[in-house]
């Protein structure tokens, strides 16, 4: 893909919620392919909701707004098509699926994402799978295990990153992929994200902590509070948040200042 094809993910005035209760109260955010953005914010501010509304989780209702990937409004597409055009979500709590092995699942997912599944070469898929698992320090025997079944928290997160590397999305949303990881696992996961970093890859890293951002340097940082992006800035914003905590954001004057 050359530079001119590179695109953006633009969230415009997004309002969404559940059972008539508005959780996202007008979110605006634009990420260009090639950029890594961080999204921070206290628990319950709506970060996971945003991620799931972008992917099309059936439980959420859409009230207003649109989400453009280039000239496609992704909110009009069924979930699987959003994935096929290059959106990816690394889940905060990946489910386990009994009876479906990692190998079989990944093969189907890669086939689904491929433009011409008939052209997919099975042996090169397995080579790439093996290489990816090695890169993420995942035991190769996991290929034959049921997806996430009995995996530790860290193993599940690595599996999410493995999927991301194999699917090569245009935009990846990583929902607290760093939570609950020890430092070694965090490094591995960061290495995975950095591997895709480049002109064809954009991502939104949802996190609570500065930690992961020491390994994956964000181009931009946003703070979500009560269903809105209340502040956007450069890396320094992370340090400020880390120093003063989210309580700091409750003060409207602070927000005014940040916005300036």
């Amino acid at each position: 893909m050359n530079k001119n094809d590179s695109t953006y993910l633009r969230i415009e005035g997004l309002k969404a919620g559940i059972d008539g209760r508005e959780i996202l109260r007008g979110v605006n955010l634009e990420i260009s392919q090639g950029e890594v953005h961080a999204l921070m914010g206290p628990n319950g501010s709506g970060k996971s909701t945003l991620a799931n509304v972008l992917m099309g989780h059936p439980a959420y209702e859409l009230y207003e707004g649109r989400v453009m990937l280039g000239d496609i409004n992704v909110l009009e597409l069924p979930v699987h098509e959003r994935a096929r055009i290059g959106l990816f979500l690394a889940f905060q709590y990946p489910v386990s699926i009994t009876g479906v092995t990692v190998g079989k699942f990944l093969k189907r997912a890669v086939e689904a994402r491929a433009e011409n599944p008939e052209d997919m070469d099975v042996s090169s898929f397995f080579e790439k799978l093996e290489e990816t698992m090695e890169f993420l320090e995942i035991d190769p025997r996991f290929v034959g295990r049921y997806l996430n079944n009995g995996f530790s928290g860290g193993e599940k997160k690595r599996m999410e990153i493995a999927q991301m590397l194999l699917l090569e999305p245009k935009f990846a949303i990583l929902d607290e992929t760093d939570s609950g990881l020890d430092i070694d696992a965090l490094k591995v996961v960061s290495r995975g994200i950095n591997r895709l970093r480049g002109p064809d890859f954009g991502s939104l890293i949802i996190t609570h902590y500065q930690r992961i951002l020491n390994y994956v340097k964000p181009d931009r940082v946003h703070v979500m509070y009560d269903g809105r992006i209340v502040a956007s800035g450069r890396e320094e914003l992370v340090t400020k948040l880390e120093e003063r905590g989210y309580e700091w954001l409750k003060d409207e004057r602070v927000l005014e200042n940040i916005r300036k």
Binding site: G56, P58, H80, A83, I97, G99, A112
Partner: protein, 423 residues
Amino acid sequence: MAENTDFARLLEAVEEPKWLTSLRLTAYEQFMKMEWPTPKEEEWRRTDITGIDFASFKQPDFMRGKGIESRLRGKNQHEDDVPGISVRSLCRGSYGEGDSLRRILYGQMNSFDNRLIAWNCAMFDRGAYVVVPEGYQGEEVVYLTVFAEEGGYYTLPRIVVEARRNSRATVVVSFVDGSKSEGQSLVNGGIDVSVGEDARLKLYVIQNVSANTLFFGNGSMEVARGGHLESFESHFGGSLVKTRLTCSLDGEGSEAYLRGAYFPTGKQHMDIRTVQKHRSGHTNSRLFYKGAVKDSGRAVYQGLIEVFEGAEKTDAYLTDKNLILNDGARADSIPTLKIRNNDVRCRHGSTTGKINEDELYYLETRGIERREAERMLVAGFFNEVTEVTEVTEVTEEAGTKGSADVAGKGVAAEVASLVESRI
């Protein structure tokens, strides 16, 4: 159905041992006295057969039906002085009074508690007798295919599997029939399994008769001291299926791993019963059954763990899981315990639910269409009971591929394709 005198005359024409004929006649007397089961009996409460006109099914040409086809596959890598597995006709062999077949059949043919079992005991008209000789450790797998008569007939097959002391073997039994649509047919089968001391037996049963056949089955499996049994039964065919599989852990330290799968769709009704009998101490049983129901399909699972007085240090486990694929389909799961010993460990449980929405969503976010995601999840649901052996072997043996037995893999693949064809 034949009258008393007719039946005796029929038997005269058959070349079978005298002791067998006399067992049949005793069973026949019982059969004539008994009534067909009614929903008043707990075991038949959810499956009402009082409307079935059993007399309307035609009797096939006695002992001259299609019979049971048997094949042995795989290398017979046994020692020179150990004979191979034998498969003989149950009805035509020359089995003596002292033959172990007599012991096995004697036990079964005198202890029936319903008329269907009595019917099979008295009149089974095709049968196979598999003997795994003492000490046999070869790789041969026995494949038995039971053909049901088509077009309004009844078929009464009986299979006896005897794994003698210290042997090891795998037996795969398939029940099939053609798809001739004239008239409904009926199968009423019996399987008797004897696992000898320190013997290991794997038994797989795939029932896939046509969708308007009535299928009744009664299986009885006995495991002697130190014996190890793995069984798998699966039900796909039949408009009405009613089966009972009893596993009796007779000897100290014997073990059984029982797995099962059933999948009624359309208007199929399947009522599957299992009984784990712990008669001796230090016995171990693990049962894992799964069923899915679709359309107006109905599944009933009844599982009983029974621990006898002397069976201390028993460890028994039973779990049955059901997946309901649409409104209008129904599954009932009824596990029960009957324990007459305090020094035991018994656990049982059952679940009934729909396809997990979060799992569907997860697969969809990976580009897999909803219909296909559903299919993957239903197939995966059953994989857990068909692939069990494979999975444990893979994890235990550090990922060595191909360690799971070929027969088990073949059955898993066949069951998977039967599952997939109905989703």
